[in-house]
């Protein structure tokens, strides 16, 4: 059991969800309420990681994180370090890879909030912010929880992109999914089995949680 890899995975998932959740709320709400030209393109771009092979996404990220590309250069100037094969690099990769998981459930949830409800809140004297915190957020909460759990657990299990961008540096980029692959390569079936079981159980609990909450959401009475 590679506890360093496990802790690293948890850290990666925590950073990814911490950055993605506010972003998911903002973008999901924006996409749910606004009708504009090119909305379909934006939605397609967000959904792309769902269908793109992880190695393809990983390859493009690897290239654009390079020191001779704008993103890589910018990061180099900002921190004095490169993005490839670094923890920061796999966090950014995870954020991009998880965009659909963080945005889509939230967007679907906002789409079920009747437009009159916000107007009713304004007419009741609630500011835009109070309308968001008192009316919208409680109604989209199941969607937010879904997004959180899906993003978190998906980051823990992420393999292809992390391997492409981060390689397998112990304590820096070797996550539990990569550690499992390492152990199998080294014929260490016992460790690989233990870690796989851990991921299986964690994933099942997470997905059960999401479905359980989705079921509860149906009872909220949003019509």
């Amino acid at each position: 059991m590679d506890w360093t890899a496990f802790r690293l995975s948890l850290e990666l998932a925590a950073w990814t969800t911490a950055i993605l959740m506010p972003l998911g709320l903002l973008v999901g709400r924006w996409l749910a309420y606004r009708r504009f030209r090119g909305r379909g393109l934006v939605e397609a771009a967000i959904a792309l990681p769902l269908v793109l092979p992880p190695t393809v996404l990983g390859y493009y990220l690897l290239v654009s994180f390079g020191g001779d590309m704008p993103i890589g250069q910018f990061w180099q100037q900002l921190t004095g370090r490169g993005l490839n094969f670094s923890f920061a690099g796999i966090v950014i990769a995870s954020i991009i890879f998880n965009l659909p998981f963080a945005i889509q459930p939230v967007q679907r949830a906002f789409e079920t909030v009747p437009p009159h409800l916000r107007e009713a809140a304004w007419c009741s004297g609630l500011s835009g912010w109070r309308t968001f915190t008192h009316i919208e957020l409680p109604l989209v909460w199941p969607g937010v929880i879904s997004a959180f759990v899906l993003t978190f657990i998906h980051t823990i299990g992420e393999f292809g992109v992390v391997l492409m961008v981060g390689g397998s540096i112990e304590g820096e980029t070797r996550t539990i999914a990569i550690a499992i692959y390492d152990r199998v390569q080294a014929f260490d079936d016992e460790a690989a089995g233990a870690m796989s079981l851990l991921l299986l159980v964690a994933s099942f609990i997470a997905i059960a949680l999401v479905y359980g909450l989705a079921g509860k959401g149906r009872g909220v009475g949003v019509r």
């Binding site: 009159h116 107007e119 009713a120 007419c123 009741s124 004297g125 500011s127 009475g221 949003v222 019509r223």
Partner: protein
């Protein structure tokens, strides 16, 4: 600024066009009626601040809520309106009580709770304060919506088709309750409805909208007896809309119609030969008893052939085809009287057009297309 508590002038060029003005006094209920797309709801939304018209001036108790010339446009939050949405728009995750409490912005927690309970009692929902909207019937939800609209101590109450989503029985009960409620709130009330009977029953004045224009604003009785134009009469769903000529006869001024000269109650100052549109309410067409004309039935007698005889419970709607032109008069009589007089399609019947019901209007070009 006069004594009007709400004064509205709106011009809109985007979306649904508007070009209208009206005033509502405190305690008065003004109904906005008109066909779909005539701008009723748009007008309400503009008053609430949910829609910004191209030009507009909205004054509430003299204070500007909207003055596009001065660049003033208060937000819905600043306007203090109580709005009841067509679908009620109750907050589904909050109890009835919390729906009200959230809309209150004065007093401490205790006094808010107390006042919310009072409001719920006023709309007869005591005991149901802990229920969520999904646990309430349509009528109960509507009452919560009305109570929530009042919770903010609004300066204007706006009702957008508040009775359209409930069944007939509930509707009648809620209409009665609104009539009662009005006695305890002294603010201008604007009701949007497509139901003319509802407007007639509830409103002090009715404003008839057509394509964003306010064609006429009057008390229901005045409106239904003296519509300003043929178009207003048609929008009010009134039959008995005709064209005629003014004739100066030796006996006095008469209305020439369908080969007859009709007496007028208050002869207008119109030249001989002047063209007019005219209208008579169904209530002012009196059926003669067959083979027994009496004194009072001499007024403007008209013969015709019964074309249609539709029994609607205690009332029967009769269509009479008169003269060679085949103009149709429609009127109601009691089903009892219709049976006694043997009214069936094909027979000849005589009616009197009461002169005080004959209402003359400036001629419009479109009356020939009237199909009422």
């Amino acid at each position: 600024m006069s004594a009007d508590d709400l004064s509205v002038e709106l011009v809109n060029r985007r979306g649904i066009p508007l070009d209208l003005r009206f005033n509502v006094r405190a305690g008065e209920l003004l109904a906005l009626v008109g066909p779909s797309g005539s701008g009723k709801t748009t007008t309400l939304r503009a008053i609430a601040g949910l829609l910004r018209p191209t030009h507009g001036l909205i004054l509430c108790q003299g204070a500007p809520w909207l003055d596009t010339r001065q660049g003033i446009a208060l937000t819905p939050q600043q306007r203090r309106v109580g709005m009841v949405f067509q679908d009620y728009a109750l907050f589904p995750h909050l109890t009835a009580l919390d729906n009200l409490r959230l809309a209150m912005d004065d007093g401490d927690t205790n006094s808010r709770r107390q006042r919310a309970m009072e409001l719920l009692r006023m709309v007869r929902l005591e005991g149901l304060e802990g229920r969520y909207p999904s646990q309430l019937s349509g009528g109960q939800q509507q009452r919560v919506a009305v109570a929530r609209a009042l919770a903010r101590r609004p300066r204007v109450l706006l009702l957008d088709e508040p009775f359209s989503a409930v069944d007939m029985m509930t509707r009648q009960r809620l209409q009665r309750e609104l009539a009662l409620l009005r006695q305890s709130i002294n603010i201008p009330i604007v009701l949007v409805t497509h139901d003319l009977q509802e407007a007639r029953a509830l409103a002090d004045r009715i404003c008839v909208l057509h394509q964003g224009n306010s064609l006429q604003t009057d008390a229901p009785d005045t409106l239904f007896r003296e519509p300003r134009s043929a178009r207003v009469a048609r929008l009010l769903g009134q039959p008995n809309l005709f064209q005629g000529l003014i004739r100066h006869s030796p006996a006095g001024l008469r209305l020439s119609w369908n080969g007859r000269l009709l007496e007028l109650h208050q002869p207008p100052e119109l030249a001989d030969g002047a063209r007019v549109d005219w209208y008579i309410p169904e209530s002012d067409i009196i059926l003669h008893r067959r083979e027994r004309p009496s004194q009072g039935e001499r007024e403007n007698p008209i013969n015709g052939i019964v074309e249609e005889c539709i029994t609607l419970g205690v009332q029967t709607s009769v269509t009479l085809r008169c003269g060679e032109s085949g103009e149709r008069l429609r009127f109601n009589t009691s089903t009892h009287a219709a049976r006694r007089n043997g009214l069936v399609p094909g027979i000849t019947a005589t009616v009197s057009l009461l002169s005080q019901g004959i209402h003359l209007m400036a001629p419009s070009t479109e009356i020939s297309t009237a199909e009422e």
